[in-house]
Symmetry: C2
Subunit: 430 residues, 2 copies
């Protein structure tokens, strides 16, 4: 996958931070991050003998941190982020989301909208993203074209939905949905270096059993990862129980059709209201959870029990869930995750201690990054995704430690912070 060139062999010098473990930060002031063939060789206080021939890029007093992974977002919803926030999930989908998504049948609109999204994502904190598109195969391919040009590494899903939603956005049958999905997969096979497909049943209520069964078969045939939504909203959960009365719990529907972890690497967004059996199944199947704290606020969904998931060693990353979440910044996402874990502790369960800054940072980097392999850390062997941060315009009269500068940046990125350079797998994208 990595066609490597010599320009990917270099050293970044600066104040380097990354997560050694979920609870421990590695901090090296004026250290050296060695990159060979797109992979980190580690962080050193002085340049080791065998790397002294490599060019050194001096990032001066800037902070150097791993790139971040946005584990859940909806690219076609970007145009209406931060608009119409006064609704819960199901009403919001019908009123705002489906009408906007229906516009992507028009390739000109899709090209225009996705170009804006891709440009903004490139300039953001994100180096890896997992995105929903719409039901439209051409528009989905256009999104993949746009994302490929950014240099980011992404997974993109053409959405499948054949029931229980407005006509404007419903595929006419399971058969058509599956047929179009195969055509889409064939049309983009081998086309991109950085942009790959992911199977994307929208969520159980809008997918017939026939569609889910067909997608389970496609997953095996094409060996694709899977993404969907799970236990986000109480009305949604009740609806799934009505539609699939045989299911033991919401996630059991996906699992029944082979779309819930194990051989099918799977991301489930939200997981706010999971019952015990569902948590046990996710753990057993190694299902990834995309925790989307701002979306869970905006759509009044609740607060996901992230501490519990970490205690269970269920893999967790963070997602902006554009447009359920309004902000594209993963820094904001970290701050929201920490904040919501404090309210969870205060309002729901005082046994579940709040996330620390270190843990929030871990979730956005190595936590979510691991869905892409060895990503989100500067430990040796990890793909070298990096952000170079300038915080000098976040002014203070204090002398700050490097760790304090990072904590501050998480909360104040948008009040004076600036990403000055960005690397993905050792390649500079700006």
């Amino acid at each position: 996958m990595n066609k490597l060139i010599n320009e990917q062999n270099f050293i970044l010098k600066g104040n380097i931070l990354y997560s050694k473990t979920p609870t421990e930060l590695s901090v090296t002031d004026q250290g050296f991050l060695v990159c060979c063939d797109g992979l980190s060789q580690g962080v050193f206080p002085v340049i080791p003998e065998n790397y002294t021939h490599l060019p050194v890029i001096d990032c001066k007093d800037h902070l150097i941190i791993p790139g971040m992974t946005d584990l859940h977002l909806h690219a076609p919803q970007y145009p209406f982020r931060a608009i119409g926030m006064d609704m819960e999930l199901l009403e919001w989908l019908e009123t705002h989301t489906f009408p906007e998504e229906s516009r992507y049948a028009d390739e000109n609109y899709a090209r225009h909208a996705y170009a804006i999204f891709a440009k903004d994502l490139k300039l953001s904190t994100t180096t890896r993203a997992v995105a929903f598109a719409t039901i439209h195969p051409q528009a989905t391919a256009l999104l993949m074209d746009e994302l490929e040009t950014t240099g980011l590494k992404t997974l993109v899903g053409k959405v499948n939905m054949d029931q229980n939603c407005s006509d404007i956005i419903r595929e006419p049958s399971a058969k058509t949905s599956l047929y179009v999905t195969v055509k889409w997969l064939e049309s983009i096979a081998g086309k991109y270096k950085n942009t790959k497909p992911i199977l994307t049943p929208r969520f159980a209520p809008t997918c017939s059993a026939a569609l889910l069964e067909g997608l389970g078969k496609l997953q095996k045939e094409y060996q694709l990862p899977v993404q969907s939504h799970l236990s986000e909203n109480l009305s949604e959960i009740a609806w799934v129980k009505e539609l699939f009365p045989w299911s033991l719990f919401y996630g059991d529907v996906y699992d029944h059709f082979g779309l819930f972890g194990n051989e099918a690497p799977t991301i489930m967004a939200h997981c706010v209201h999971c019952p015990e059996e569902e948590i046990a199944r996710m753990k057993n199947n190694h299902v990834y959870i995309a925790h989307c704290p701002q979306s869970n606020i905006n759509l009044a969904s609740g607060i996901a029990p992230v501490r519990r998931y970490l205690e269970e060693s269920i893999p967790v990353g963070l997602g902006t869930d554009i447009a359920g979440g309004a902000n594209l910044s993963m820094f904001r996402c970290i701050a929201d995750a920490i904040g919501m874990s404090k309210l969870y502790w205060r309002l729901i369960d005082q046994e579940k201690k709040p996330l620390t800054m270190e843990e929030g940072f871990y979730l956005a980097t190595a936590g979510g990054g691991s869905f892409f392999g060895k990503v989100g850390s500067f430990a040796p062997g990890f793909e070298m995704d990096a952000l170079i941060l300038d915080d000098k315009n976040i002014r203070t009269s204090r002398n700050l430690s490097t760790k304090e500068r990072l904590e501050r940046y998480l909360y104040l990125a948008e009040e004076g912070g600036k990403i000055v350079e960005k690397y993905v797998a050792g390649k500079k994208i700006f």
Copy 2:
């Protein structure tokens, strides 16, 4: 108070929004906001005959909205905002807050730190602010000097605290605290046009009965407004009950000494965990509540029942509570207030419906502004505080209504929004 000059007679042309009522937004596309002698004469679709001689400032396609009031913040805490966020209130005060505040005994440090704060506040969304300083009268006067130069209108309090806190920040006795406060009041009497004093007992636990009694007398003598903290944190509330066993509830301590509304215009910050009797007393005494949603998240305090306060017609505004809250932007404060009201509804009481966008906007403008008189609206007779907003860099493929543009700006101000001009009581400050 308003020494008015002719340059304050003009008309702003653009897309004008303000709160007609707490639930209703006035929107005039390409309208005319007439300002005479620093006061709004109203918003008109065409210029009325008697104003046609006034110069028109064409704000083109920009949004024009009232300036915002930050009803609660701690200026000396600005240097460490967004640092050390992993604690509850009382531990956070001892670990981070009091050591930083003790540095303001050094006037050089104070001058340096307050210059940064005042500059950033000037550039922010805030046109009016109510600020805590520290116990130090010279540093407090320096803060007032700095704020006066910004053109913002502010209330600033030298803090009083004479017990139950580190030596480094404790005044030696009630008598000294009162004496120093009088000296401070005399030193700044008549000195400023825009910057006025406010009495500031830190919070009940750090004030002896003798100090509170003396402050009550000062309030009457100097006819000053009052600010303090109320029912923010559960441990704090229990501590007040221990210290003032005769009190019926926390706010009863302040009221006992004449520092809780009625003849003493009063702002109480937080009000997260108020018992019924306290709510009734606030209502009866017309006490203002400064709702500080982000601080209540960061310090794991909980969620204040803002809907309840609105139903009771208790006056409410918003506060950033720097550094309990990390962000200086009142737009962020609105978004946080709306978001927390949704979680309050979901997690605590489904009878209390979430704040709408209109209500959040109202709280930050006319709601808090009313503590300063007729402020926070463009209705005729209101002091003309205004922000001119450029949102063209928050890109979208959609055509948006003016109201949608405002809603979006609330959530995305820091992702591409720009304040291009700012007026306070008709005077352009940048």
